[in-house]
Each structure stands twice: as C-alpha cells, then as structure tokens.
Amino acid sequence: MLKQVEGSRAVAEAVALCRPEVICAYPISPQTHIVEALGERVKAGTLAPCEFINVESEFAAMSVAIGASAAGARAYTATASQGLLFMAEALFNASGLGLPIVMTVANRAIGAPINIWNDHTDSMSQRDCGWIQLFAEDNQEALDLHILAFRLAEELSLPVMVCMDGFILTHAVERVDMPSQAQVDAYLPRFEPRQVLDPADPVSIGAMVGPEAFMEVRYLAHVKQMQALELIPAWATEFHRTFGREAGGLVRTYRTADAETIVVALGSVLGTLKDTCDELREMGLRIGVVGVSCFRPWPAAAVAHALQRAHHVVVLEKSLAVGLGGIVSQNVRTSLSGRSASVNTVVAGLGGRPITRASLARMIVDADEGRLDPLTFLDLDRAAVGRVLAREREVRRSGPIAERMLLEVKR
C-alpha cells in the first residue's frame, strides 16, 4: 500500500509488521521518532504481544535486548551516534553470543564537538563489532531492509544493524509502498532461537573461553558472518518475488557497464549521486555509481566485479578515519588489490554538511580527469582551516580547536 509518510514512521510500521516481542526505547536524535511510533502501536494494541521497555541508557537498551533475545524473544531497538558508542560493549557481546537482535541506526556524527546531524562515523566506528551492517538508500529500502534483517539475523543467529541516514531519511516525508502483514508473515518465519534460556533445558550461556578455544570461537564467528554473502543475494531475489521490488542485495550498480569513473558510496547520498551521474553523462562523461548496501560482511567479490572496468574509483564517504583517511576506501582497496584503477577517497557531508549536485559534479569531473587528490574533503572551507593552521603554527598551544574554528569560519 502506497503512503506518503515520514521515514521514521515507515520504518516503525515495517518493524511492527515483523512482530517484535521486546522493544527497548531510549531517546536520541534522530532515531527518536521510530521508537515513539512503535510505542503508539503497542499502546494501541496493534502491536501485541510486545513488551515496550523504557530503559535508562543505550547500554541498558542493548543489554535488555540481549536478555530478551537469549530468552527466545524477537528483540528490537534503535539508536544513533553517542548512543551507539555507549552500547559498544554490549554490541560485541550480542554478536559474540550470537543473538539475532535487529537495531536501526539513524546515522549521526560523533562528538566532540557535539553534532546532531548526519554522517556515518557512528556505525563505521562499530564496523568490526561482529554485527551485520546494511545501509538504506531511501525510506522504501530502509523499511524493506528491516524485514530482511530479521530473517537474516534469525537464520544466522547474528545481530543486524540497519543503517539509515539521520534526518535525511528519518525525517524525510516521501512515498513508500508498505507491505501487508500477510506478505511479511509469509516472508518472515517464526523465531526459532538457536539457543534459549529455558528451565526445561538449562544451559549456561556466555562461558569464559581461554586461549585454548578463543581463536576458534572468533574464526567461527567470521565464517558465520561470511555466510551472509551467499544468503543476502538469494533473499533479495526472494524478496523481489514476494514484495515485487528490489531490496537489499550486496551492492547495487547504476550505469556502470561502460563507466570509466565510478563513485562508490553508502546510504542516501546515492540518490543525489545518480542525478549527478545522469547530468554528467548528458555532458558525455562515462560515469557510474556503485552503492554498497551490505557493508558488513564486506562483499569483496561483488565490489570487485562492479568496479572491474573502472579506471577511476572514487569512494565517497560520510566518515573519516582520523590519521588515515577513508574507511570504506580501505575496504574497496582490498577488493581491488592487484588492479590498476586509482582509488580516491572523498570525505563528504560530515556533521550534516549538505552534499550538493554541484560539488559532486565538480569533484567527479576532477576525478574523471585524474585531477582529484587521493584524499579530498568535499566543500571544505580551506580559508578557514588555513587561518587556524597558520595561527597554530605561530603559537603552539593546545585547546579546543573547535571553538576557534567557529570564530574563523565567522570572520
């Protein structure tokens, strides 16, 4: 059924269709609308049976989800930014214990300086925590991915993070096609936990494992997550059969067949990129776009295949590995090892900085003509940082760069 609805509400409705039994709610922008909308459904009784728990922190949110999942309940929560970092310890635990929790991350920057706007620093910081990470391009995909995520999580007994850009998607009102309960029920089987806390068949979950077996445990975790690389494409196809539209998959290509320059990106910026791509192609440039929808496990082969004809690969990232550069870029490079194509890292949209067609076009043209720096910061106020660095050179003094930066930008 078609609807014109806010992204958060769309996701909430889709999650509700997946019949979660325990939902942990803790407020943090820009995720808050999702749990609020779920709360309304529990209150209204349209989502039942379901325990809606107002926890005291994100750490508790994930911990409650761990308990619920270990006891055999389908558990869900949502968070963002600082919240994701505050639950970091529990994230590793949930994946280590193999608990199929599904969580929405409304991607947002990480402070300091505190910033509520969108980028990918939060989920990128947890890329190695053992969770599967799926990125949504638009609200339709955001809600579809949640349905897929529950199935994936429970099949592999692994937790799944569905990442959607904060505000840009969560707060955008646009058209979505909401599946029916019958469709979701047909696609998503009942939760049958791999291990469960039950007095009828007692087990101890979460043993201390020493050097004699820890390596093996981690190895098996890796193998298990890699299995998602086979399952996801298969289920994307099945999803298409059930719901009549594309969703999920490992990577999505756009006009890459003959592309010389390909931009790789995650999330909502892909839309703007595709529009830009179309414009540039009208100017005769052979540009393509590759969207990575599954970031963990990293679909090395699929990415390599998608980029096989490109001369220039530009990785557009909404995150920065301070002291290195690109995070996604590093993953892309592993897929292209032994290939001649240049891989540029373009850091863009940090802390909600708008990513415009114009800037993208300029950047892509530069890349196409091989003029792009290996590490580029899109729309960086060079004058401002220049002034700061100059002053830094004059007086060596530690202190909050952020504050002085603001002053500089203002002048």
């Binding site: 791999r194 068949d201 979950i205 494992v209 445990v217």
Partner: protein
C-alpha cells in the same frame, strides 16, 4: 535439542568433571570424642547416648540405653552425686545439663509404664553366686543375668538393697522406688535369697557348684572411737540408727541430738533426727566446712532444715545430759590441733557417724585372699587373689557411693563373664576428651537449667516425704535438649550445609555424613562450624 554455539554455551553441571580435591593440603575427618559426662560417670553410663534418645522424646529407647550400664536409674536419679554434671561443658556456657534429673525422669517413667528388661541371651550354663544385695551386688547380678548366667544373690538382711535401704533415709530415696527397681532385676530370673548369711564361701561354692562368686557385702560395721563417758550417757552409732528407721521401733534420740562426724551418714542422721522431732540436731565436726567429706548439696539441705554444725570441734566427754567439746584449730598442714579451749553442749543423745568397716568373716579359710586396711584387695579386673572370686562395692578400696558400687558390679560382671568363658575382657580404648574449647557454642540456644521442685522446709522438718521432686515430661525433654553432644556428631547438618564445594555426603538419619574427597578443597569451614567439635583437620600426606 538446541544447536549450541561452540564453547560459549555449555551443558549444565558439567563441572563435575573437575575434581578439585587435588587442591587439598589438609583433609577433614569425622571423629568421636569422649564427652566429659561419660568420662566422669562411675557407673560408666553413656549419658550423651541416652540423652540423645531422650531428646527426640523416645524415652523407652533412652531408658534401655541407660540401663545397659545401670539397672537402677530411678535410684540413681535420686541418690547419685552426679559427677557428670560437675564435668558438663555446658556449665561453662550457662548451667550444666540436669543429667541427674533426666535420669530420674526416665527411671520413674519406666516404673510408671512398667518397662521390663529384655530377657537374657542364651543361657551359658554357668552359675554365679553374688554375696550381698546392695547396689554392687544387684548391679553385678543384673549384668551377669543379661549375659546369660544363672545368678543367685544371697543377703544376710531381711530385705534387699543394702546401704540403699539401710544407709539412705527414705526422704531421699522412697522405698517403693527402690523395691520396684530391685524387683525388675529379680524378674530377669535372678535368684534372691534373704536372711541368708554366707558363712563359709569356699564350702558354699563347692557344695552348690558355683563357678564364680562376686562378693559385695558392703561396710556395715560402725567405726567406734573411745570417748570417756558417764555410765548413763546415751551413745548410739549412725548405721544402727538408720537401720532401725527401717524397722518397727523408731530409735529414741531425745529432743537434743548431737551427731559426731562429717560424712554423708552424719548428715543423714542429723536430718533424720530433725524429722523424728528433735528440737536441736547438731553436728560436731573436727574440721572446717571445706574439709567436710559430705556433699555440699546435702549439707545445704540439712542447714535449710535447721540442722546446726559445730565446726572445728571434738568431743572430749559424754555425760547424761551434756557433752564436753574442745575447740580445734587447723595447723599449717591443715590438720586440726587441740586448743585446750573447752565448752559444754546440751545433749540427750550422741550419735557416732565416724565411718564403717567391712565384715570380712565370710572370707575365713579362703586361700590367697588378702585384706588390707580392712578392705579386700582386688585386681583391675575386680578379681581377688583367689581365682573365680571377685569383689566390689564398699568392701574394696574405693569411694563409697551407690554409683561407684553399681559401676563395680558392671565391671566385675564383664570380667566374670570373660573368666567363665576363659577369655579376657578388654575395655575398648577411650576416645580423646571432648573439651569445651573444641565446641562452636554459637549454634546452641541460650537455655538455663531447669530447677527441680523442692519440698517446703516445714514438711521437710516434720515428715519423711521425698525432699526433691522430679521433672515433668516437658521440662525433662527441655533438659535433655540442652545437651551439647560434646565431641560426637548429632547430625545438625552444619558440615553438609557450609561446604562451598558440596563435598559432604549426607547418609541419612542415624548414618551421619562422609566427605567426598574428589571435591573437598580442604578449606576447613566444616570443622570450624561444627558445633560439637566432631571434625578434625589432618594434613594431607604429600
């Protein structure tokens, strides 16, 4: 069945595979120790044993356990000076357990319910002569009978009981109680012959084919002391006075009676005199109260009843209506020495209570028998120098109490039995003492002793009613449950409960516990928290 993730999810209780016993450097072991009460009992009663049975309200079992050692609990519960209570560890906590009163309760309960002894084991065919139907003789007869021997008891007196009857006044030991316990022994098949003085033992045994004899004629001859006296002075001896109390003719003592001596007999006479109507009943004793051989409880009761005592005094001369008394003083060695200071004491009669001697005449003509200091010498097995002839009670060297006598009887019976079967009775080795220090008294409720009711003084001065009452069922039970079970497991489950490694196995009621050394780490909490000190830690051999 769930598909458990490798290593992080484990099956329940699987740690049993890990035998932590290997960590142990010391190992706990269960021990049994000799409780002070048992250790102090002249009759060798397993006091803790029968108290434990009484604790659960099973009085018959308790009584049967008690009478394995002593056939006269109702008597003992009245006349024993209970050294057990003086030794009781509980005295260091609040008051000693009232063992004597529980014993009396059990004895009376048995009489009330008419409990009888189990009949003897298969007859041995051996015949044993017991001479003397006092506590020692009766005890021996009882034990010998239960051992299957054919026992004949002969006594010179008209009734059985010996000193229990002729020495102890009825206000301390009612005769019906005494008689009932004697009858119960007789009911075992013991042949009791009264007014049958054994003149020549050797011949008697030969003629009547006795295989062994136990002599327990007691000490009935009053010691005399030379006291210058006027012809009309009325001087009697204590034994005669007490014996005549059992006959028709009550002794004529007059209004002012003086008793000379410091033993229990002196007190018995003085108290008897009071009851016979004497206005003054005065004891003259040459030493101090501390030195007095009589038991303090007896003295206390006597004083309560108005008996008076002149300490540090001897009698120099007895006249018709008065006595001359000399004051004494203790020298540095603690012996009384005359001071030459005289005084006169009004008295209608003087009763001498200076101790008793044994009538050894029946031993005439028995080769080898030796008497020293007026008593018969016996070995550790109670056998005289003449094979097959044993002796006990007041006629052998020892403290002269009913309890000691009963103990002799039991001990002699065991040796006689062994001798008849031509073996030797070996006393089982005694356990180490269960001292107070080894107890963890926290676990015992605070519970002071129950005081037995006493007859009011007025009636004690005028009647021969029993002075000391008994406990009723509920407070006898209470008293029994005050027992700390020193040194012996009473299954409180502490060790079973406090073991952090579940390494104590509970074997069920009466079976106690055992350690599972596969898991015991040797921490020692069980020993530390054992209330009665029945667990010991010993180093592991490494």
């Amino acid at each position: 069945m769930m598909r458990k993730p490798f290593a992080i999810t484990l099956d329940p209780g699987s740690s049993l595979a890990n035998h932590t016993g290997t960590w142990r450097t010391t190992r706990p072991v269960y021990v049994d120790r000799l409780p002070p009460c048992n250790g102090a009992c002249p009759a060798g009663e397993d006091i803790q044993g029968w108290l434990a049975l009484a604790e659960s309200g099973d009085y018959e079992s308790a009584w049967r356990k008690l009478t394995e050692d002593n056939p006269l609990p109702a008597v003992m519960g009245r006349v024993c000076y209970h050294p057990c209570e003086n030794a009781c560890n509980r005295a260091q906590l609040d008051d000693a357990v009232g063992i004597n009163s529980v014993e009396r309760f059990l004895g009376d309960e048995a009489l009330r319910r008419g409990w009888q002894f189990e009949n003897p084991a298969t007859p041995s065919g051996a015949r044993v002569l017991v001479v003397g139907a006092g506590p020692s003789g009766l005890s021996a007869a009882y034990h010998l009978a239960r051992l299957g021997h054919e026992v004949t008891v002969r006594d010179a007196g008209p009734v059985a009981g010996g000193m229990m009857r002729f020495g102890i006044p009825k206000y301390r030991l009612p005769r019906d109680v005494l008689q009932a316990e004697i009858d119960r022994i007789v009911a075992l098949g013991v042949r009791l012959e009264l007014d049958a003085k054994v003149e020549r033992l050797g011949e008697t045994m030969a003629r009547e084919r006795f295989d062994a004899a136990f002599l327990a004629v007691g000490a009935h001859l009053a010691k005399r002391a030379y006291i210058p006296a006027g012809s009309s002075a009325r001087i009697l001896d204590a034994i005669a006075v007490l014996r005549s109390m059992e006959g028709e003719e009550k002794p004529l003592l007059g209004r002012r009676v003086v008793v000379y001596g410091g033993g229990n007999t002196a007190l018995d006479v003085a108290r008897t005199a009071k009851r016979l109507g004497a206005t003054d009943s005065i004891i003259v004793y040459r030493r101090t109260r501390e030195k007095m051989p009589a038991h303090d409880s007896e003295l206390e009761e006597a004083l309560q009843e108005g008996v008076m005592v002149k300490w540090l005094s001897t009698i120099k001369h007895a006249g018709e209506t008065s006595l001359t008394v000399e004051k004494m003083a203790l020298d540095d060695k603690g012996f009384p020495q005359p001071t030459g200071e005289l005084e006169t004491l009004e008295a209608d009669s003087l009763v001498l209570a200076l101790g008793q001697e044994v009538d050894l005449s029946l031993l005439d003509g028995i080769p080898g028998l030796e008497a020293k200091d007026g008593v018969v010498q016996v070995g550790p097995d109670m056998m005289t120098a003449h094979a097959g002839i044993f002796a006990g009670g007041d006629m052998v060297p020892s403290e002269r109490t009913v309890t000691v006598a009963v103990g002799h009887g039991k001990k002699a019976a065991r040796h006689i039995d062994a001798w008849l079967r031509s073996t030797r009775y070996a006393k089982p080795a005694a356990h180490a003492a269960a001292t107070f220090e080894r107890l963890n008294t926290w676990y015992y409720s605070d519970a002071p002793k129950t005081i037995r009711p006493m007859l009011d003084t007025l009636r004690r001065q005028s009647t021969f009613d029993e002075v000391q009452g008994g406990l009723d069922e509920s407070n006898a039970l209470f008293e029994a449950r005050r027992c700390l079970s020193c040194g012996n497991c009473f299954e409180c489950d502490n060790c079973y409960g406090v073991c952090p490694d579940n390494a104590v196995v509970k074997l069920g009621p009466g079976k106690r516990f055992q350690f599972n050394y596969d898991y015991c780490k040797g921490c020692g909490i069980c020993a530390q928290e054992c209330p009665c000190g029945a667990i010991e830690l010993v180093p592991e051999a490494i």
